[in-house]
């Protein structure tokens, strides 16, 4: 009983860190894409002028 309970506790903490770090990963990649888009779009704007 105790052993299986510990599995659940470990699963809970592992999931928490997985989700939080996963979201950090998503933020970082989204940030990269947004910066890339901005640079490309504003750069093209200057070319056209």
């Amino acid at each position: 009983m105790i052993a299986s309970n510990e599995t659940f506790v470990i699963a809970a903490y592992a999931l928490t860190w997985l989700v939080l770090l996963g979201y950090v990963w998503r933020l970082v990649s989204k940030d990269g894409r947004a910066r890339g888009d901005y640079a490309r779009v504003s750069g093209r704007g200057e070319d056209l002028r």
Partner: protein
């Protein structure tokens, strides 16, 4: 045109330092380490009680995030400042993440405690409905292209959704009490409250970091959208 471009450049948000993220997660790790090592196995639940340190703060953060969505939605409709809309949207996304985490952790706790992954308890059900409202809010934002419409509509959905949350809670509570007693978690031992508070503060820091970071990205995306519009208007 060039002045416009420059003003956009200067208003571009700077990347919030990676060190802030490290600091937030270090605090969270420390709070978890402290509370785990300082809480003896609880009588009924054994070590399962330790799940509470992540589950309960995550639930608090979910509701706090939704409160932020409500406040900034009202502010947006009142003042019509784009920043308020973007903050509400960022809080909604972060809130949805914490909401999903809360539900999953609740299931992990419920399986060994109650013997089932899910039960139609008032808190569980209203948290689930809140999750669905978050999903609807984010879906709406994804499917509307005009920034003004997107902002006004999602603010309306955020406010109406927030009004609904207490009504859902009440109705499910009544619904349950007609069938069987609502499942109440065991009352909290004062020995555990310090650990709970520490974890809540740590998770609050993480959430603030997330919302801030998401808001910066949202501003970047808007800047890119505006630059694209300007390029299209100036170029063709």
């Amino acid at each position: 045109m060039p002045t416009n471009d420059r003003s956009l450049d200067s208003s571009l948000p700077r990347r919030t330092g990676i060190w802030l993220a490290f600091a937030c997660f270090a605090v969270l790790g420390a709070a978890q380490a402290y509370s785990i090592s300082n809480s003896p196995a609880e009588g009924d639940m054994g070590h399962l009680q330790k799940i509470m340190y992540v589950h309960v703060p995550a639930a608090w953060m979910t509701f706090l995030a939704f409160f932020v969505v409500l406040v900034f939605s009202v502010l947006y409709l009142w003042r019509r400042r784009e920043a308020y809309d973007l903050i509400a949207a960022s809080a909604a996304e972060v809130g949805a993440v914490f909401n999903g985490l809360t539900l999953a952790l609740g299931m992990i706790w419920g399986r060994p405690t109650w013997g089932v992954w899910w039960t139609w308890d008032a808190r569980l059900t209203s948290t689930l409905v809140l999750f669905l409202i978050f999903i609807g809010y984010l879906a709406l934002r994804g499917f509307v292209d005009d920034p003004g419409q997107r902002a006004r509509w999602s603010a309306a959905v955020g406010i109406i959704g927030a009004i609904n949350v207490p009504i859902v809670y009440m109705s499910v509570m009544w619904w349950r009490t007609l069938h069987q007693q609502p499942s109440s978690p065991s009352t909290l031992d004062p020995a555990y409250t310090l650990g709970l508070r520490l974890n809540a503060i740590a998770l609050l820091l993480v959430m603030i970091y997330f919302i801030r970071r998401r808001y910066e990205i949202a501003r970047l995306e808007r800047a890119a959208e505006q630059a694209a519009q300007m390029a299209a208007m100036g170029g063709r």
